[in-house]
């Protein structure tokens, strides 16, 4: 089947009461942005759904739509002249194609007549087209309640759209409808999944990555850029902030108790993330933290790390099992990139015995040894911003000099 159009369904947006209009406007805008790489493609709001005309761009445009947060499913559609004689062969062919893909016993035709100048009412249209399918495949039966297969027919002034089959979307809420947040990315499996889950709940996200390229090389940074590129397929935009962290690790290693290093690194990351968030008007941090996965993720250490952040911490993966996270990473396409080998922390900086349960008082004494504000300020001054759209390679954005002052 040639794909001319797409019928787009959404879920929770419809439940938002007074905000419904605002949510729908945001959703429509995000759908339009997703279609920007496909000139001529358009989106229009119907009753409780959206219809996109793909202007000859077919499956790639359809897939781009299917990744927009808020979309529950997308059905590929064929455009046909709005009259019975034209619809009948297309409907019969669609049934034949569906039967080639899988066996089924019952079906229904679901008509919707938005164009009242079309002479045949919906119910009659469904009956007439159903008869065409029954004539071609006498073994099939009609079941209006629980059909194995449904064919939709949307009659509109510009033509009729025949659709069946669904690509499942992310669901959730339109990106941007709930504000801005900053995700801490590591290049591992978890943090991109956490970021995606936060986007799916309506947050417009930027990411921040702390690199030590002078110790570990550029491979980790390139990997995180690739993850940012993949995440940008689900949102109108994804900004990635690259912050040099090697010099800070060197200072911490020089000054502090080795067993507290990991905690100190993480608390510094949170402080810098808060500074980046302030610049980018983000009102929460998102992390891939998971209870008990590694030494820094005991309840005590999670609490000590969180205490360094002046912003609310969102941890979508907190209670996930690794297998659940991996399944999601595979679904959103980040898994294969996340498992590429690239060190994000140099072995030079890793303590032999990291503290499993840090002590808040000693941590405070360790931090008194560090020129905290100066470190945050220096990191902010060297921050780079890369922006990604539509899953394309990122572009570095020049930051105005004052944008990198701390606080």
């Amino acid at each position: 089947m040639n794909v001319d159009a797409a019928l787009i369904r959404f879920g929770e947006i419809g439940l938002k009461g007074n905000n419904r209009h605002e949510f729908l406007a945001r959703f429509g805008k995000n759908l339009r942005i997703a279609l920007e790489p496909y000139p001529g493609a358009t989106v229009e709001e119907l009753q409780g759904r959206f219809l996109a005309e793909l202007a000859g761009h077919g499956v790639p445009a359809l897939e781009a739509l299917s990744r927009v947060c808020g979309v529950t499913s997308v059905s590929p559609a064929v455009r046909v002249a709005a009259d019975l004689a034209a619809l009948e062969p297309v409907v019969a062919a669609a049934a034949a194609e569906a039967l080639r893909e899988r066996r089924f016993a019952t079906f229904r035709i679901k008509g919707n007549r938005a164009d009242k100048s079309f002479k045949v009412p919906s119910m009659e249209l469904e009956r007439k087209l159903g008869a065409v399918v029954l004539a071609a495949f006498p073994a099939l039966r009609v079941d209006l309640e629980h059909p194995d297969w449904t064919l939709g027919v949307e009659v509109r002034p510009e033509g009729a759209f025949v659709h069946h089959g669904r690509i499942v979307g992310p669901g959730g809420l339109p990106v941007g409808s709930l504000g801005n947040a900053l995700a801490l990315l590591s290049g591992g499996i978890d943090s991109p999944v956490a970021a995606w889950l936060a986007m799916k709940r309506g947050l417009r996200l930027d990411g921040v990555f702390f690199h030590s390229a002078e110790y570990t090389g550029f491979a980790a940074t390139e990997k995180v850029k690739e993850l940012a590129r993949l995440l940008s397929r689900y949102a109108p935009r994804f900004g990635l902030h690259l912050v040099p962290f090697g010099p800070i690790q060197a200072v911490i290693k020089e000054a502090c108790d080795p067993s507290y290093r990991t905690l100190l690194y993480r608390r510094m990351m949170h402080r810098i993330a808060v500074a980046v968030a302030a610049r980018e008007r983000c009102s929460a941090l998102v992390t891939g933290d998971n209870l008990g996965q590694v030494a820094s993720q005991t309840l005590e250490n999670l609490a000590l790390t969180a205490a360094a952040s002046e912003l609310p911490l969102l941890r979508p993966l907190l209670t996930f099992d690794k297998e659940e996270t991996i399944a999601l990473a595979k679904r959103i396409g980040t898994f294969d990139v996340s498992i590429r080998p690239a060190l994000d922390c140099c072995t030079v900086f890793q303590p032999a015995h990291p503290r499993i349960r840090g002590d808040a008082d000693q941590l405070a004494r360790e931090e008194e040894l560090l020129p905290m504000d100066a470190l945050v300020e220096a990191a902010m001054r060297q921050r780079e911003l890369w922006v990604f759209h539509h899953g394309r390679p990122g572009r570095q954005i020049e930051l105005p000099p004052r944008a990198n002052g701390a606080g």
Binding site: E214, Y215, T216, E254, P258
Partner: protein
């Protein structure tokens, strides 16, 4: 970028890029085709073959084009015949895996390995102990890719001919080719493996060079190209580019190679003088004119590498710092280096296009990096 990783690969010359493009545009027909376009493509391949043969002082028939150095080493150690009554292959403990691992695949021979001396060259006494009339093939490096050590080929040939008269002698000349001379056929070596991209040519092309009309069993059969020694449609643009790279090599004045060796010497001398405890591998023997392998005490060379890259200097490390000891270089271990020293080995490799200014920049940049990182490492 200051590029000091020429042992990994070299920048193709403009003349090479032009020759490759011209072959893609003009000589794209199949050299085996009987029409005029095919004949023209054939002519470009044969012209390149003649260029390589002339530079090396062998017949054009002795040039078997391959996909690179790895295939050339395979073709030698798996394809050269073992004369009747011989059943052993002698090699060293520190060969490039394309030679060492390939030799181990040979079914009709037993492989024995010879030790290296502390200077990185083959231990001639140990070699002599392993040579006898049952040896059918001696295969070893001419110049070493990791240490820069050069083997004493004349002394090796003398011992092989005296103690193992039926043996063929193959050298892996991938690093030594054209630095500064062609493979040592005049000394009596029978075959040599070479690669175009180590001499400013394109990747994906190399050759097994044969001094005489030695029989060679093909590793891949098919259309019978390369006198039935290496089937597969010729990589015409690659071969033409290789020819252009060798033509440039032949036209390079001796003074340019002397300058290259002098830059290497200066780099080695200044860095060992300025970095306390640093030493150059293979310093006491003959060495290649383009490789300086340094052991930098108290640091991990991979981290040094990334610090250098921040300053626009790229080179190569002896090992990744997270590499397990099983993954550490057997060649460096063969020189008696401890695991920490192997992880502290940095390889700087030069080329004819390396300038004095670049050398000075490295001499200025490296010592403070090593000092800073050694101080960091000294903390627990």
């Amino acid at each position: 970028m200051i590029y000091l990783d020429n042992a990994a690969t070299t920048r193709p010359l403009d003349a090479v890029a032009a020759a490759v493009l011209s072959a893609l545009r003009q000589a794209w027909a199949n050299p085996s085709s009987a029409h005029r376009a095919g004949l023209a493509a054939r002519a470009t391949v044969e012209e390149a073959r003649a260029t390589v043969a002339a530079y090396c002082g062998i017949e054009p028939h002795g040039v078997v084009f391959t996909s690179g150095g790895t295939e050339a080493n395979h073709l030698a150690v798996l394809g050269l015949p073992l004369r009747s009554g011989t059943r052993r292959i002698v090699t060293t403990v520190a060969e490039h895996p394309s030679l060492g691992r390939a030799a181990a695949l040979r079914r009709d021979a037993e492989v024995v390995t010879v030790r290296l001396l502390g200077n990185g060259s083959v231990d001639l006494d140990d070699l002599e102990r392993h040579l006898d009339p049952s040896v059918g093939l001696v295969a070893l490096f001419e110049g070493h890719n990791e240490t820069g050590a050069r083997n004493p080929i004349a002394a090796i040939v003398e011992r092989v001919r005296r103690k193992a008269p039926r043996a063929l002698l193959h050298v892996d000349a991938v690093q030594s080719f054209g630095k500064p001379a062609p493979p040592p056929f005049s000394l009596g070596v029978d075959s040599a493996a070479v690669s175009a991209h180590k001499v400013h040519g394109p990747k994906g092309v190399g050759a097994l060079l044969l001094r005489t009309r030695t029989l060679l069993a093909p590793l891949q059969v098919g259309g019978g190209q390369e006198a039935d020694r290496r089937s597969g449609t010729e990589n015409v643009p690659g071969i033409v580019g290789f020819g252009a790279a060798v033509a440039a090599l032949a036209a390079t004045p001796a003074a340019a190679f002397a300058a290259l060796a002098a830059r290497r010497e200066r780099l080695a001398r200044e860095l060992t003088a300025r970095i306390p405890g640093a030493r150059v591998l293979a310093a006491e023997g003959e060495s290649l004119p383009h490789i300086v392998a340094l052991v930098l005490p108290g640091v991990r060379s991979e981290v040094v590498l990334h610090h250098l890259e921040q300053r626009g200097i790229v080179a190569s490390a002896g090992a990744a710092c997270h590499a397990g000891s099983h993954a550490l270089s057997p060649a460096l271990r063969a020189l008696g280096l401890a695991d920490d020293e192997i992880r502290a080995t940095l390889r700087l490799s030069l080329a004819r296009d390396t300038s004095d200014a670049e050398i000075e920049a490295v001499i200025a940049a490296l010592p403070p990096i090593v000092a800073e990182l050694a101080a960091l490492e000294r903390r627990a």
